[in-house]
Symmetry: none
Subunit: 248 residues, 2 copies
């Protein structure tokens, strides 16, 4: 569909088209389209822009990825469809490994996702070969399988657009979790150590920029980031916008 | 996928699966999946339950359908995928006709929807045969076509999960409009005469129950339902829930 540039929601519709394209290519499942629709509404409520509050979380995330010993970027279908290029770029800047990890697992889809990442320059994609599979505790069987060279051994994991159960299991397993979640009240948002309340298509670009700009000195300073406080600010932004909309 | 019963969002995920099934059967389009996701988010904000405010709207809707001369239930892909059985049951109790009417029209999809309704016991499904097609004014060509035995002649129409443009056109055409819409601020919600701010999978069951229970005496009383006031209450519930969630 040709989206007119003048459409008030043109950007949101472009992102949607990108996801539908990913669906047709076999990266995204139907449930992923539904989950995206849910995110769209929250994006609408935060004003479809990266807030100052989210920028703080992005800075904390950049720092955490750069100082990590073994950072990993966990990739699902939606994330790959929306940000394949940015995932690879972020991995190169931070030295993070890339691992495919799906809520609705299928070998075919895993391979399609690995392929799009390689097409965008990824040299190595974990989570594909069964000989490296390891199980993390306290999750049902399908979702607990991770790569022993990746998530299993990582200290810091970026898991965007993630399910609450999985985020909690990763925390219990001792990992530092960074996430993108447009719903500041979700279990994932509340459980993660650093939650970026932003659309991945905007936030990933900024995260890459910030990673490039942070100096050694910046990394030596202790982080003062408070996730709970930050999330409250995001919720406040939504409440303010909702009040404005209700009175419009 | 097998959804664990212990998942805190199990019901929401079951509904999602139902819609995905409808997508695979050709009832639902991709845009319908995304639209459902947006609704999911509002359902989450109203607390994933039927509020007292919505129950009032349901009672008013039951009354309006039962006293109507020619009530019609307008059915699109998502509504059929989620509530085929309930649509047929409501039609039998109220004497309402069932008409298929789509935003993204296609003959194939219309037939698939009619088929699932018939499989669930519908004797007659309007909106399929072109010889009964009539146009309503002030809408673009694809969506203005309705059945002259149905929506064209109806006095009361139930049009759930509807687009704002179409709701406005039906109002301008002199119809009494009842809708299900989880976003109390949407144009459809604001334009309809009775807006049920509830998930159709919950609300339809209650609507059927209320239709069964309303006595002749109940129907003789004048309705005191005020939609604008009711919608303001729903918006207030969302704002309160947001505040509660933010402080949790």
């Amino acid at each position: 569909m040709l989206i007119p540039k003048t459409h008030p929601r043109a950007t949101s519709l472009y992102i949607r088209e990108k996801l539908v394209h990913g669906f047709r290519e076999g990266l995204v499942v139907e449930e992923g389209l539904l989950a995206h629709g849910r995110g769209e509404m929250f994006d609408y409520l935060i004003g479809e822009k990266t807030t100052k509050t989210s920028q703080k979380a992005i800075k904390a995330a950049a720092r955490a990825l750069l100082v990590a010993k073994l950072p990993v970027i966990s990739v699902n279908g939606n994330f790959a469809a929306l940000c394949a290029k940015e995932i690879v770029e972020l991995s190169k800047i931070t030295g993070a490994k890339i691992e495919v990890n799906l809520f609705y697992a299928s070998e075919k889809r895993k391979k399609a996702i690995a392929q799009i990442l390689k097409k965008n320059g990824a040299k190595e994609v974990l989570g594909i070969e069964s000989k490296f599979a390891k199980k993390i505790p306290k999750l049902d069987s399908a979702r607990r399988v991770v790569d022993k060279r990746g998530i299993f051994s990582a200290d810091v994991i970026l898991v965007p657009l993630e399910d609450g159960d999985r985020t909690i299991a990763l925390k219990k397993f001792g990992k530092d979790v960074i996430t993108f979640d447009l719903n500041p009240m979700s279990r994932t948002a509340q459980t993660a150590d650093i939650t970026i309340v932003d659309n991945v298509t905007r936030g990933m670009k900024i995260l890459i920029d910030v990673c490039k700009k942070l100096s050694k000195k910046d990394l030596e300073k202790k982080s003062k980031f408070d996730n709970k406080k930050n999330l409250k600010k995001s919720t406040l932004i939504i409440r303010k916008n909702l009040r404005r909309m209700a009175n419009a």
